[in-house]
Amino acid sequence: MEDDHESLGDACPQLLNLIQNEKVGKKRIGGLDASEEKKLELTLGLPGGVGEEENPSVLSSCIFSKVSKTSSGRGVLGSEQLEAGLFQLQSKGGYGTEWPHKTTWNREKFDEQQSLEKAHGGTENEAGSNTSFQTGVSAGAPVVGWPPIRAFRKNLANSSVKQSVDLHNGNIDEKVKVASCKKGLLIKINMDGIPIGRKVDLNACGSYKKLSVAVESLFLDLLEAQKETSTNDLRMDEEAKQAFKSLLDGSGEYTLVYEDNEGDRMLVGDVPWDMFVSSVKRLRVLKSSDLSSLHDWEARKEQQLSVEYGDEGQAN
């Protein structure tokens, strides 16, 4: 502890200087005596335990404008700070910390964001002029550069989305828009029998029905091109369109399935749309007749992978 006292002695004159003098730039007034040192000795508990003239409510109340007083009886911080003259101290009314309008990150934006978010179970931290932006703000905060992670990490959760922050675009991209950042969720989609895949924007769809329509519009032409020659264009159209009916209920010629974030193949349509969007990795349009054989194949795969059985020879 001697070290601490020593460093206290060195550091404190200047620190003490601050606590003593609201005016900036005053020189140090000399060393500390033992009683002053003791008063500055910090313990790591609630301020009540320190037991000086220190305002016991420093941390437990909503007023942050006071600081521990020394025996020289310093004044209260806060409005005195204004004498510094070169800036304005915002009065701190509470845990909500009323940020001045000058900062780029302001409460209006957060409140707005709040209404966009799902209920996050607001915390019960109501204290003084506590604000709404303490609750669930971690989600989709409209603050530039917050949370402090690299751009490529922000999009990891949805691996199909290409890195949306383009560092080469200069200023404009640095202003993060308030709107949901799941804009333009492009998922790969393949169809049985068609060698070329497409990408579909799930956020533009917004529902399963629209997804089904989108799938049809993506593959209709390609499917027609694949089909055997038919001189009757109209009939070809009809046939092709027929293929896309009932994509979602399994009764049509094709069925829509997807691969989720656990690597499993799932039937599209079981879960709520939002849940689907957050877990989908890629889509596939399967021939419905293949579904049952797919099941068998899956079952064989499961066996093969089971470590307990230690399968080595199981052929595909």
Binding site: D4, S7, A11, C12, L15, L18, I19, V24, G25, L42, L44, L59, V67, L77, Q81, A84, L86, F87, Q90, Y95, T97, K102, T103, T104, W105, K118, H120, T123, N125, F133, Q134, T135, G136, S138, A139, G140, A141, V143, G145, W146, P147, P148, R150, A151, K154, A157, S159, Q163, V165, G170, N171, D173, E174, S180, C181, G263, Q304, L305, E312, N316
Partner: protein
């Protein structure tokens, strides 16, 4: 000592590996300065604008390895405009003229053009190692130049760079005669590579010990590569998912069985649980595991794997690991020294993934923990105090509570006491990042106790100028201070102007510093560059001729021998 001949002094200096030590001995006397400057082989330049390349290379003509850092740290989070600066070309050009014997170049947060890479590739016949971290400005064409012309290249390490994809042929540019590669890391490349060229390259480079593949590499390729490089020590796995449902799993298992030397694993971008089982055989010898690119891995699979990793020293994961997963880590990984937990669901409104409980569990289970980066949804003072008690050896402590001003949810108090406990207990703390609701008090603690602190990151914290002044007056080893969205203004900025010459840099953005304050600082301290970044806002007309009362949005102050830089773009004003 001064009676020894130079050769002896030089030999003694050979034992000094740290830059600081060498810097210190060179200030003892002229004789030592001369000996030291001629014998220094590894040169570190922490701020590319602090000194001119010519001066560096004139002083250290024997330089073999050069490290240069460019943009301020907050550039990582898009707070620095794209063309702010940090061009590597002047350094490479000067080195080409003055130090053609250069063998290693390490650049961080710099702009590296293809032209620079081309020059680098051709100008240094003994060039062995290129490490680029968080750089940008180049494409696979530049990499092709390096591959083609650097005979005897041992290391090409690309970490988290922005690389433009101009095709996959760069890898094929390594000539057949290239057998010297020891380390190849192209994990950050987005595009495909020529996998057969890669396989051939790996096969002929028998000394290859570190290979980090990018996401475009499938498991099938990985299996072939592992077959050719069974002596790898560090592996970045690529996507870790198969394109077709083939025999991949079994082959993968076999491939990993043969790789007994792997100690460091990363990658796993699209890893499905079934493939993860294939690495169980090597988990028990792993010392480094990076799963932070793998949101697909579920916590139960993670726990199953972690149980095997009892030698793990470094672990990077996503917060989907949850407190439960961290508890499992605490049980299994007693040798853990570094933990990083990244947020996985930045824009979602998911359930809180990790909280203070996970951190407390880690701290009690892993007493050797000394480096932490922890993104969480909440933290309590009690937890931090416990962590401080359990782990007094922290050298790096970075806590990021995703909600910027969140108090202790249980006591509703700011986190001053918690962070105070950390700085008081961890006497070797060199780097600290704060978050959560914080008053000036935490800065008082930091100023008083964090005497070895070198880098401090502050966001949305403090109440008044006093906070910043406590830090400037107290932390005698402070080198880098970066502050955003905190109520520190001109008074704090000007309180201790001499301090900035003892530091590498100061960054303040969205604080209360005004143009007048910046000018005053610049006037008092001619050996600092006081740069103000003025980005044009669409609605802002007064930017043209702002008054001194105008609040400065972004300010970057650094000590320098060169005066204002001549490559500053027009939105950067140096006062």
């Amino acid at each position: 000592m001064t009676y020894f001949p130079d050769e002896v002094v030089e030999h003694i200096f050979d034992f000094l590996s740290s830059h600081r030590d060498r810097n210190n001995v060179s200030t003892v006397c002229k004789a030592w300065y001369l000996v030291e400057q001629l014998s220094r082989l590894r040169v570190f330049v922490g701020n590319c604008y602090a000194v001119r390349p010519e001066r560096v290379m004139a002083r250290f003509p024997g330089m073999k390895c050069l490290t240069v850092k460019g943009k301020p740290h907050f550039a990582d989070f898009n707070l620095v405009p794209h063309d702010w600066g940090g061009d590597a070309l002047p350094w490479i050009e000067t080195a080409a003229r003055c130090c053609p014997g250069l063998e290693e170049l390490r650049l961080k947060r710099m702009v590296v053009s293809d032209e620079s890479l081309e020059l680098l590739a051709r100008a240094f016949p003994n060039f062995k190692s290129l490490v680029l971290i968080s750089c940008e400005g180049f494409s696979t064409d530049g990499l092709a130049e390096i591959a083609t012309h650097c005979r005897g290249l041992r290391e090409l390490d690309l970490q988290e760079n922005e690389v433009e994809d101009h095709g996959r042929q760069w890898l094929s540019c390594f000539p057949d005669s290239c057998t010297s590669l020891v380390s190849l890391n192209f994990a950050c490349l987005k595009g495909e590579v020529n996998t057969s060229a890669l396989e051939r390259l790996v096969a002929r480079c028998q000394n290859l010990r570190c290979l980090k593949l990018n996401r475009a590499i499938s498991i099938e390729s990985l299996i072939k590569i592992l077959a050719r490089a069974p002596n790898l020590v560090e592996l970045g796995t690529g996507s870790f998912t198969a394109d077709h449902r083939t025999e991949a799993y079994q082959n993968l298992l076999n491939a990993f069985y043969k790789c007994n030397s792997i100690r460091n694993l990363s990658g796993f971008w699209d890893a499905a649980p079934r493939y993860l089982q294939a690495i169980y055989s090597i988990c028990s010898s792993l010392t480094v595991l990076n799963l932070s690119y793998a949101p697909a891995i579920q916590v139960n699979d993670l726990i199953k794997m972690i149980r095997h990793c009892f030698k793990l020293q470094k672990l990077w994961v996503l917060d989907s690991i949850g407190d439960k997963g961290l508890a499992a880590v605490a049980c299994a990984c007693k040798e853990l020294q570094e933990l990083r937990v990244f947020p996985s669901d930045v824009y979602g409104t998911g359930i809180a993934a990790v909280t203070e409980e996970g951190l407390v569990a880690i701290s009690s289970g892993c007493p050797k923990l000394n480096s932490l980066l922890y993104f969480c949804h909440q933290m309590t003072n009690a937890a931090l105090i416990t962590v401080a008690k359990n782990c007094p050896h922290f050298t790096r402590f970075r806590l990021c509570i995703l909600d910027p001003v969140k108090p202790d949810p249980i006591s509703n108090e700011p986190l001053d006491e918690g962070f105070g406990a950390i700085v008081k207990s961890c006497k070797d703390l060199k780097r600290l990042s704060l978050s959560g609701l914080l008053t000036d008090k935490v800065f008082l603690y930091i100023g008083m106790y964090a005497s070895r602190l070198e880098m401090l990151s502050i966001a949305f914290a403090g109440e008044s100028d006093k906070g910043m002044v406590y830090v400037l007056n107290g932390c005698k080893n402070l080198k880098k201070l970066e502050i955003r969205d905190s109520p520190f203004g001109d008074a704090a900025l000007l309180e201790n102007v001499g301090k900035y010459e003892t530091m590498r840099s100061l960054w303040m953005s969205s604080c209360d510093v005004t143009q007048g304050g910046c000018k005053a600082l610049a006037a008092k301290m001619p050996r600092l560059n006081v740069e103000v970044i003025n980005e044009r806002e669409e609605s802002d007309e007064m930017v043209e001729n702002p008054s001194d009362m105008h609040r400065v949005e972004k300010m970057y102050v650094y000590r320098t021998l060169t005066g204002p830089r001549d490559d500053a773009p027009d939105f950067v004003w140096t006062f």
